[in-house]
Amino acid sequence: MTDVFVDSFVYSLGERKIHVNETAAAGRLISSARDLESAGFRWHHVCEPTTSAYDLAKEVTGQLAESGRLGDVDAIVYATCLPLNGNAGDPAQWERTKDVKYLMDFPASRLQADFGLHKAVVIGLNQQACTAMLGSVRLAHALLQVEADWNRVLCVTADRFPEGAKYEQAYNLISDGAAACVVSRQQAAFRLVTAHQITNGGLGQAGDDETVGSYFAYTHRLVRETLERAGLAAADLDWVVTQNTNDKAWQILARLLGVGFEKVFFSSMPDVGHVISADNVVNLAELLATGRVRPGQRIALIMAGFGLNWQCLILEATEAVAAARD
C-alpha cells in the first residue's frame, strides 16, 4: 500500500462572532444559554445573510492558494454536512423557473473553475454529516491507492446553516465554517496511518437524546476498531483531537478508552463551538500551533455525525510537522 500524507490544514468561520447569550436571546437555541455554557460553549460564528457555504469554501481554498500549498490538484473531494450546501445555485431561480439545473450548481465545479484546477475531477460527499471531512480524507486516501497517476487531492468541507435555523444540534452550539486539507503521495506533515468508519442507518432519524445516548458505545467501538486496524493500542496515541461537544463527554470516553485526558485536545470549543465537520481541522490547527506535536507522535481524529456515522483517522507526525506548524 502506498503511503499517503496529509497536511495544509486551514479553516474559515462565519463572520459574526456571537456570544451564546445573544443567540439564546434571539430565540435561536433549543437549550438555555446557561446549559450550553455549562457544557463548555461560549461563542459561535454565524455567516452574514449574503455569505454562502461556497464563499466559506472559497475562503479556505484561497488560503491554500495564497500560501502556495494548493498545488497541482488531481481531484477535489467536496464535503458538506447539509446536502443543501452541495448546491451553490440560487433557490429563487429554481422556484421561478422550475428548472432543476438550478439545483445542480455544484460548488466543487465552481471551486475547480475559480481556482483554475483544470486537471482536477470533482467528487461530492454529502451524506456523512459532521464526519464528512474525515470521510473525504479517507476517500482521498483510497483514490490515491487506485489512481496511479494521481498525486494530490484537495479535501474541502463547507457548511452554513440556512437563515432562520436554530444554531444548536444534539445539544451542541453550532458555527458556520469550512475547512480544507491536502492529501498527497508526497511526504508531508502527517502520514495517514489508517481510517475507519461506522454507519448505523437504523439510527438515521435518531433524536437528539438517542444521538447522545449512543455516543459513548459507538465512539468507543470506533476507536477500538480503528486501533485494531492500525495494530495499535490506546497507549500508542499521543493525542486525541475530538469534535467540539459537551466537555464531560471526553472525560468519560478518555477513561473508558484508557487514554489520559491530558492527551485529549479540543481547545477551540469555547471560542468556536461545533463547526459542523470542520472541528477536527480547527482543533488540529490549534494543536499544531502550540508546537507540542513531535515527529513520530500519533494523533487520532474522531468525529460522530448524523446518519448516524462515526469516523476516525490516525495520523503520524513526520519530520515535516515542524514546517506545518510554521
Partner: protein
C-alpha cells in the same frame, strides 16, 4: 382464634396483594388503612379495593382513612382488637426528597409504633423495609440490626431510620423487620404494574438513550416478584414464627449479577426486530467517576428523556458499585422449602413483557 390485622398502605402495590392473600389464607378481619384527604377519596379507594378483593371481602374488611403524618392517624381503630399490624405504607421512590422521606417513612413509622404500644393483644408488628437499608455496606449482609454506615439516597436512609423506630421497641413489642428485594414483576409471568429503577434503566437501554452501564458487573442484585414477596410476608406474619429481622430474597447462590442481568436483557432486546434495526450496542461498563460525569452532563439535557429517566435511576445506581450479598438464613429456617423465582428466567420474561407493552404504554391486562 380470629384476630384483626391492620395493613397500612393497603391500597399500595404490596398492601393490596397482602390483603388479598390474608383473605384467602387466613380468617382474620382486616383493617385496610389508606391515605385519603377526604370522604370522597376514601370512598374511591374503598371502591377500588372492593373491586380488587372481591365481594366476599366485604364481611371481613374495613377501609379506614389513616394519614400517618397525623398523631391521630388510627383513631378509628380499636387497639384492643388488633392482633397483627403490617406496616406497608411508605414512599418508595429512590429519588424521594429527604424531608418527605422523613415525614412519611420515619415519622409515620414512629406514630405506628406508638399505636402498636396501645394494642394489648398484639402478636406481630411487621414493618416492610428494604434490603438497601444496608446502605453503603458491601460484602455479606446478615439479617441483623444495621449501624448507620451511610446511604446512597434518602429513601435508604429513611427505611433504616424507620427500622430503628420499631427495633427500639423490640423488647416490648413483637417486632419483625422484613427487608424486601427489588420487585421487578407482579409474578412469574413477568407482568409489570409498578415501574422502578430496574425498569427505567432497561428502558434507557432499549430506547438507545444510555450506552454506559454504571456499576460493578459482579454486583449481585436481589430481584423478586410481588407474588413471592407477598407469600413470604404472609408466612412471617404467623405468630408461631419467631419475630426478628428477615431478608426476603433469593438465596445468595441463586442471585444473578448485574452482568448476567444485562446479558439476558439484551439477549431479549436483540430478538426484537425494532431493536435490531436500530443497531443499538450493549452498554459499556463504566466506573463511578465516569457515571458521575454522565449525570453531570445529563443535567444539562433539560427536559429531554435522558435527563428525566436518569434522575429516577441515578439515586440507586450508586448501589451498583457496592457489591453485597444478602444472607437469608433466618428466612430459610422460618420457611423450609421456599422457592424464590429463578432470577434469569424472571428477568427474561419481564423483559419480554416490557417490550410487548412498551413499558406500560400499551395496555396490558388489569392485575
Amino acid at each position: 382464634m380470629r384476630g384483626t390485622t391492620v395493613i397500612t398502605g393497603a391500597d399500595g402495590y404490596l398492601g393490596r396483594r397482602l390483603a388479598a392473600a390474608l383473605l384467602t389464607d387466613g380468617d382474620d378481619d382486616l383493617v385496610l388503612a389508606v391515605r385519603a384527604a377526604d370522604g370522597a377519596e376514601l370512598a374511591a379507594k374503598q371502591q377500588r379495593l372492593d373491586q380488587l378483593l372481591g365481594p366476599q371481602a366485604r364481611d371481613r374488611t374495613r377501609v379506614v382513612a389513616a394519614d400517618l403524618s397525623r398523631d391521630d392517624a388510627l383513631a378509628d381503630v380499636d387497639p384492643r382488637a388488633v392482633t397483627r399490624i403490617v406496616h406497608a405504607a411508605a414512599v418508595t421512590r429512590f429519588n424521594v426528597e429527604r424531608d418527605l422521606a422523613r415525614r412519611v417513612n420515619v415519622n409515620g413509622t414512629a406514630r405506628l409504633r406508638a399505636f402498636a404500644t396501645r394494642c394489648e393483644n398484639l402478636q406481630r408488628l411487621a414493618m416492610l423495609s428494604t434490603l438497601y437499608a444496608a446502605g453503603r455496606r458491601h460484602g455479606d449482609v446478615l439479617e441483623e440490626r444495621f449501624d448507620d454506615v451511610g446511604f446512597v439516597n434518602h429513601y435508604e436512609w429513611s427505611k433504616w431510620a424507620a427500622e430503628e423506630e420499631v427495633l427500639d421497641a423490640a423488647g416490648d413489642l413483637p417486632v419483625s423487620v422484613l427487608r424486601l428485594p427489588t420487585l421487578i414483576a407482579d409474578d412469574d409471568s413477568g407482568q409489570v404494574t409498578q415501574y422502578n429503577a430496574f425498569h427505567n434503566t432497561l428502558k434507557l437501554f432499549y430506547y438507545g438513550l444510555l450506552s454506559l452501564l454504571p456499576g460493578d458487573g459482579t454486583t449481585p442484585l436481589s430481584l423478586a416478584t410481588a407474588a413471592f414477596t407477598t407469600s413470604a410476608v404472609t408466612r412471617l406474619l404467623d405468630p408461631a414464627i419467631a419475630s426478628g429481622i428477615y431478608h426476603i430474597c433469593p438465596d445468595p447462590a441463586d442471585t444473578a449479577t448485574l452482568e448476567e442481568l444485562i446479558d439476558i436483557s439484551f439477549t431479549v432486546f436483540e430478538r426484537d426486530p425494532g431493536f435490531q434495526r436500530r443497531g443499538l450496542m450493549r452498554p459499556l461498563p463504566c466506573d463511578q467517576d465516569s457515571f458521575e460525569d454522565l449525570l453531570s452532563a445529563a443535567d444539562l439535557l433539560r427536559g429531554g428523556p435522558i435527563n428525566q429517566s436518569l434522575s429516577s435511576v441515578s439515586p440507586f445506581a450508586h448501589q451498583l458499585y457496592l457489591p453485597k450479598t444478602f444472607r437469608n438464613d433466618a428466612l430459610r429456617a422460618a420457611w423450609p422449602g421456599y422457592a424464590a423465582p429463578d432470577p434469569i428466567a424472571l428477568a427474561e420474561t419481564t423483559c419480554i413483557r416490557l417490550i410487548e407493552t412498551k413499558w406500560g404504554r400499551r395496555t396490558q391486562e388489569t392485575p
